[in-house]
Symmetry: C3
Subunit: 268 residues, 3 copies
């Protein structure tokens, strides 16, 4: 059985390795795929988006996700089953919901309340190790979701608020969702939004970020643009992103997730 694992733990400390150890002590046969541990610390929305984007590429199994600023407080620890039969484990802070809803919907949700499926001592600050990893490992061994604790109404789960873009006649107001290692800057837009605004490949627009304006061209891929040209393209997860052919858009623009980007249309 595969357990995928996504978190904001980073790889500098032992957090990820310790969770691997805990899982392997309980479920020696389980195989762990680390989706990423580079979610910015405590950014639940980014964790939720990355989990949602990547889940379809993962083998079906148990999907552990921990971005948990509310650890030790009132937020519920959860496990849920999607319509596709995937099992997701993590905090009830919205992290799991977009991925579950995109992959068959939430069929059942249970609170992690049964101490049999946690470590003997549960710390107040590292539920990834003491609660979530053991639950994931026990699920991977075949323990039924229902054994982990009482059911929770899927409607009652905490949701994250994904910012919505405004697509107007002359202007699109979008928000930066994510910036990757290459500086590619993902917006909360899809190709349908650009199609609606008639921004087809080859069309030029103006980007406005932090009071600065830049020309950009809609393109299918980096190779369609000249070196140094700013492009708008549909990225590999089907979001519209901003890139610079051969450079880092994020560095040029100094953007960060959450920032507004205006796209001015009908540029002469």
């Amino acid at each position: 059985m595969v357990i995928t694992f996504l978190s904001d733990f980073g790889l500098q400390d032992d957090f990820v390795g310790t969770c691997h150890g805990v899982i392997k002590r309980i479920a020696p046969e389980a195989e762990i795929i680390d989706i990423t541990h580079g979610i910015p610390p405590q950014h639940v929305l980014q964790g939720a988006l990355v989990l949602c984007n990547t889940l379809p590429y993962m083998p079906e199994g148990v999907h552990l996700a921990v971005v948990d600023p509310g650890v030790g407080g009132q937020r519920r620890p959860l496990a849920l089953r999607t319509g596709e039969g995937r099992l997701l484990v993590g905090p009830d802070n919205g992290l799991l919901v977009p991925a579950a809803e995109k992959n068959g919907g939430i069929e059942a949700a249970h609170e992690l309340a049964n101490p049999e499926y946690a470590l003997d001592t549960v710390s107040r600050t590292f539920h990834g190790r003491d609660l979530f990893s053991p639950a994931a490992a026990h699920l991977a061994r075949g323990v039924a979701l229902e054994e982990l604790g009482p059911p929770v109404d899927p409607q009652a789960l905490v949701r994250v608020d994904v910012p919505k873009a405004e697509v107007g006649q002359n202007r699109i107001r979008a928000t930066v969702l994510y910036v990757d290692r290459f500086g590619n800057t993902q917006l909360n837009l899809t190709r349908a939004d650009l199609d609606q605004a008639q921004v087809l490949p080859g069309v030029r627009v103006e980007l406005e970020l932090a009071l600065e304006r830049y020309y950009a061209v809609a393109a299918r891929t980096f190779a369609d643009a000249r070196p140094g040209e700013v492009i708008l393209y549909e990225d590999a997860y089907r979001n519209i992103s901003i890139a610079i052919n051969g450079g880092s858009a994020a560095e040029l623009f100094g953007v960060a997730p959450g920032q507004e980007v205006r796209i001015h249309l009908r540029t002469p």
Copy 2:
């Protein structure tokens, strides 16, 4: 058989991947758990503390650790067996000793001297690849510890010096042991030390770091404090740590491992 692996190699270069390759060529069945490779370069004490904290969460097996500023010099390469039957492999510079002593004590130690269990060519600068990984892999395949080389008196092993706190009537003098990704700042204090000083949850103290003073409150977890409040809490490895609810204590204070922290008690 599980081999755990901790080092200061980082993940930017190929050092960790190359050691994995070497292990898998010798012991294809071995499973490797990377505890962390983010120990600051050549910081033996930090490596020793992290290994000691995490070993109880790891499956029993072979535990490879390489933080090795003395590579190529006089320091001995070692393998040892703990009272619990764990096998530890690494340099004789103190890295392995705290973990071994906390997990059953050192039952036997052997110098890695048998060239049959090293690569054919041993470089002078990468014993992780040429000496320690092969030894760990051969142990995982069932080679006896005694085969690796002559015994070493456990009393003769190099020890690291873990700084000790001073707990006084009005003041505690502690040292920062570790700073994690979230900025949580671990001290060389345990709850017993705070109990002795009557710093129970809810009690306020003053922290003095680098000539600055800050109020802090003893708390059970982040969620017990108001946002932005500085807390003293028992962390997941049972050390007392400093944190800021919703922020980075390390960033606010500008602290680094080795720095002194004074805790002034009986704050009105």
Copy 3:
């Protein structure tokens, strides 16, 4: 079957984890060894050198490598077989060639053109996920190289240009190839070059970098030098490197890959 994986994807994003997921969906039995994902973004030469250095330490299997600035453009996606029977998968931009030539030569090369061995939808910007990982996974399951697409003449493959050093009577002109986490600075020189210039262990030289000059001594290992002394030594991959005993040469000199280093001989 082992699949090794090298890229410039970094570990902050999900790129590596997503490729692991894709591989495991196709070839659940395959075991993945991550050589490194820390190649600087789009630096094909550095990727090629690291793959070439590390391949001999890897179990024989499928060797996936992705540093791919030309993704989505005209560059061919490739798989090739070496004289040793290793299978290499990656873009035709020179990344695979030095490793293949050093490990038995290129016996056969095929373009990845058969859509049966790619994902159903191939994006224009993430061939690592959609094209290269599936091809590697199918090869690991036993699909014949010839099935992946039409043969390509090995002579027609793109080559990378590895800079050559000039070894003169009084001076060596070398280039920095690589800088590692410890600040050790690898040059395009071998011990044979130093031998030819009579720079044997113990001999002193002057290094000239970016208009500054520094004394250095040829040494066998860090431990042969005094703390703080700059040394020239044969590193673990048999390149000549510059290091500082107990410090970071790269930090002191401010060097980066591609920079010229002059070594002045016959220093009095």
